[in-house]
Amino acid sequence: MADHVMTHDAPSVYEPSLFGTYSKKIGMWLFLLSDSLTFGALLYAYSYGRISTVGWPTPFHSQSIVNATIMTAFLLTSSLTMVLAVRASVDRDAKMQTIWLLATMICGTGFIVLHGREWTKLISEGLTLAMFPSVPGQETAGEFVNVAKNVPQFASTFFTLTGMHMLHVTLGVVYLGVVALRRKFIPILLVCWLAAWLATPSYSPFHYGAHVLLVAAVVISIILWLKPKVYDSSDVEVAGLYWHFVDLVWMFIFPLVYLMSAKIL
């Protein structure tokens, strides 16, 4: 072993990594493996609820399916732009790296906006959780009021699973924003937080969910203050791993939650 230990005088000779790659990437893989178990458990919980519950609703009209399909296309396209950003970073093309990262963020934001619209529509039609603030005038009306009362497992598992995924996508966009723009991203994030908070009505879960952006801005400020750095290709690749994982998880949520619960007339 000692024969392989590198010295700083000879950077081309180094101790071979056990997994053939750098530790940051191995760390991200380990995190993703643990996170896949979180989503695995949630998907199993959803599936179990579906099998064991009589009268499981199929609430997704073709409009919702089209919406979810566009969301899927956004995520798949964002994965392509992410991989192009990684490629630009290893080619040391800083301009294209930033452009592809921003394109990935735009696709991710598009996904979040469409998902938010879907949630808002379902909530306004009566599919809600007890923890969500009640929508004025929707206590008795709405297509899914009975669904929420008779099959509460649907709303619980649906909002938990898709909400967890939406949180991951949001944090992914923030992560990419930091890698692409570093400190310049903090004021943008604060503007996004303020816009999301002010633009959503007080009964919307997104009115409170927007505070995730504020918390993220504080955490990022601390991190960048403690360890300011220029992100290199390894950082972009590690961020890309996280982003592709978020895409990967949606490949299971989309068919299992949306397509298997489509309302076919």
């Binding site: 590198m6 530790s23 178990l37 994965s79 990684v86 690749e237 890309g240 990967l248 989309f254 397509l259």
Partner: protein, 112 residues
């Protein structure tokens, strides 16, 4: 990063430079096509179990493409590939072992 990590990262970056960009577009197109097939199948009034099997099969293929090409696991050394995939599959199999007998009981005996 220390010098060792920088050297390893540089070697990994060098490997990335050899991957053709075109393959990423092919994978992206394949993923979109499989998504379109999934949506098409949704409206074919298939038996739920059959449809679930096909959809999950397609999802597994999509997942393999994303992990292999976009996450570059295909280009990692065997030890990395086997350890990561075996560990996550083993955990998911354990979940399945706990989940399926009970789910089967619920399906065959009904919900009481």
């Amino acid at each position: 990063m220390d010098a060792t990590q920088i050297a390893i990262a540089e070697r990994v970056a060098e490997e990335h430079r050899h991957h053709k960009k075109a393959q990423f577009f092919w994978v992206w197109a394949a993923l979109l096509i499989m998504t379109a097939i999934e949506v098409y199948l949704t409206y074919q009034n298939m038996e739920p179990i059959r449809m679930l099997t096909i959809l999950m099969g397609l999802s597994l293929i999509k997942a393999a493409l994303i992990i292999g090409f976009f996450m570059h696991l295909r280009y990692e050394i065997s030890r990395m590939k086997w350890l990561t995939m075996c560990s996550v599959v083993a955990c998911l199999v354990l979940m399945t072992i706990f989940f399926f007998p009970d789910a089967h009981r619920v399906v065959t005996l009904g919900v009481k």
